[in-house]
């Protein structure tokens, strides 16, 4: 299994090259915590895993609102998500 390095909230993380950004975040954090805030400040996280619910939006390489569950990881990718107010 090939392993690559991505940067999740600026921390390097070695992950399976065949996983999605959502998978990489879940593996890196060992949980499914909130990954973004709603317009009114409520926590949101990935839900459907198939590109329908749009709840897994993260910033990838500076582009906001990318679907983590639909985006394969790439070596050197910078992934930024919301870690919560007290993270």
């Amino acid at each position: 299994m090939a392993t690559i390095t991505v940067f999740i909230n600026n921390h390097p993380y070695a992950c399976d090259a065949s996983t999605s950004v959502a998978g990489a975040i879940a593996q890196a954090t060992h949980q499914l915590g909130a990954t973004r805030q709603s317009v009114h400040g409520m926590p949101r996280t990935m839900l459907c895993g198939m590109g329908i619910c749009f709840e897994c939006r993260v910033t990838i390489n500076g582009n906001a609102h990318q679907l983590a569950c639909q985006t394969p990881v790439e070596a050197g990718m910078h992934i930024t998500y919301w870690e919560g107010a007290d993270a």
Binding site: V39, F54, H65, Q66
Partner: protein, 367 residues
């Protein structure tokens, strides 16, 4: 001041604004709307308030209306989502920049702000424009509103009677509803936009279909309504399908992306070929749009007239029938000026601007 009764057909921004103005000048107002207040083209459009100097008639009405929106919006910015972001007209070559420069004195003569931008100033305002553009024209008094909410608010101020119904026919002294009921009034105002011919088939109105795209929230991606100088040339003056770069920042941080125009398409589906051409045109001016996520696409119909000016005033051959339609892509802007003109004509009081260019009689032969 009269206490006469007027029936207004159509609760879009134009009908609602006319109701507001007529109620304020003493009329008892009944509004007939088949869907909801502020639906139809009012909900489908961008909601831009823009002063356009492409003809004296267009400039008089849009400049007057821009001032009225400023007063209305400043008094209640949250209701109208009034955002005085201004417009930047982007010149794509030196010839268009010269055209932009020639417009500045027109705006100043009308008492409006206008500022020629060189390339450096253009990119300072809107860094996401593609490199190599020579400059543009900034009109700071232009604004963005949420027209459906404005229509609802204008109607609420009237204290009038709202009837949810379809009008099946006009008759002398009133209207007939779809369920056969007759309603009588001293005057009837037809404000049904591109559907005006359903009730008055001889009107010179053609529906002009448009598509719009809205993105997810990207605050600060653009700061003004940004459109190409060729917009009017591409959008208004031809009979063939056309696209033009025109993007708008919403108060939510979302970006509205337009625009395109198609005559004689009477079905509302999204046309992927037209949509593709429209987005391609926009990417030519603002390549970074390609990095944004769009969340919805929809269509709507403008009410186009042969000379590009609306129909405001009495129907020349049907006494008691007044027209307020044919506003093409400028109905949000010109709704407030239209309402003032129509009320002045109906009340026999002096209008703020010369009503002649908009009178429906220009399209009817004298009999």
């Amino acid at each position: 001041m009269s206490h006469a009764h007027v029936i207004i057909i159509g609760g879009g921004i134009v009908g609602s604004a006319c109701a507001h103005r007529l109620a304020a000048t003493g009329w008892r107002v009944t509004l007939i709307e088949r869907d909801t207040i502020g639906s139809g083209a009012t909900a489908a459009g961008m909601g831009q308030v823009v002063a356009l100097d492409d003809s004296p008639a267009e400039f008089a009405l849009t400049a007057d209306s821009q001032r009225r929106w400023h007063a209305l919006g400043q008094a209640n910015p949250l209701v109208h989502e009034y955002t005085p972001c201004g417009t930047i007209w982007v010149a794509s070559d030196d010839e268009e920049l010269a055209m932009a420069a020639a417009k500045v004195p027109n705006y100043h003569a009308a008492g409006l702000h206008a500022e020629l931008l060189d390339a450096a100033a253009l990119y300072r305002h809107e860094p996401n424009l593609r490199p190599g553009l020579p400059g543009g024209l900034r009109i700071a008094g232009d604004a963005v509103v949420y027209p459906s909410r404005s229509a609802a608010w204008l109607w609420q101020q009237t204290g009038g009677t709202l009837i949810h119904a379809e009008v099946s026919a006009l008759h002398a002294g009133g209207v007939t509803l779809g369920d056969g009921r007759h309603l009588s009034a001293d005057a009837v105002v037809l404000a049904t936009g591109s559907r005006a011919r359903d009730l008055v088939p001889a009107l010179p109105i053609r529906p002009k279909k448009g598509h719009l795209v809205i993105t997810d929230r990207y605050p600060d991606f653009i700061h003004h309504q940004v459109a190409e100088m060729g917009y009017v040339k591409n959008a208004h003056l031809t009979d063939v399908d056309s696209v033009a770069f025109n993007v708008q920042p919403r108060a939510t941080g979302q970006i509205l992306i337009g625009s395109c125009r198609q005559y004689d398409i009477h079905t509302p589906e999204v046309d992927p070929v037209m949509l593709g051409q429209m987005l391609q045109r926009c990417l030519e001016f603002m390549p970074a749009l390609a990095t944004l996520s769009s969340i919805r696409v929809w269509t709507g119909y403008r009410a186009a007239t042969p000379d590009g000016q609306p129909l405001i005033g009495p129907h020349p051959h049907q006494p008691g029938l007044w027209l307020a339609t044919g506003h093409e892509g400028l109905g949000i802007t010109t709704s407030l000026g239209t309402a003032d003109l129509l009320a002045a004509l109906m009340n026999h009081t002096p209008p703020a601007i010369d009503p002649t260019p908009y009178l429906p009689s220009r399209f009817f032969s004298a009999t």
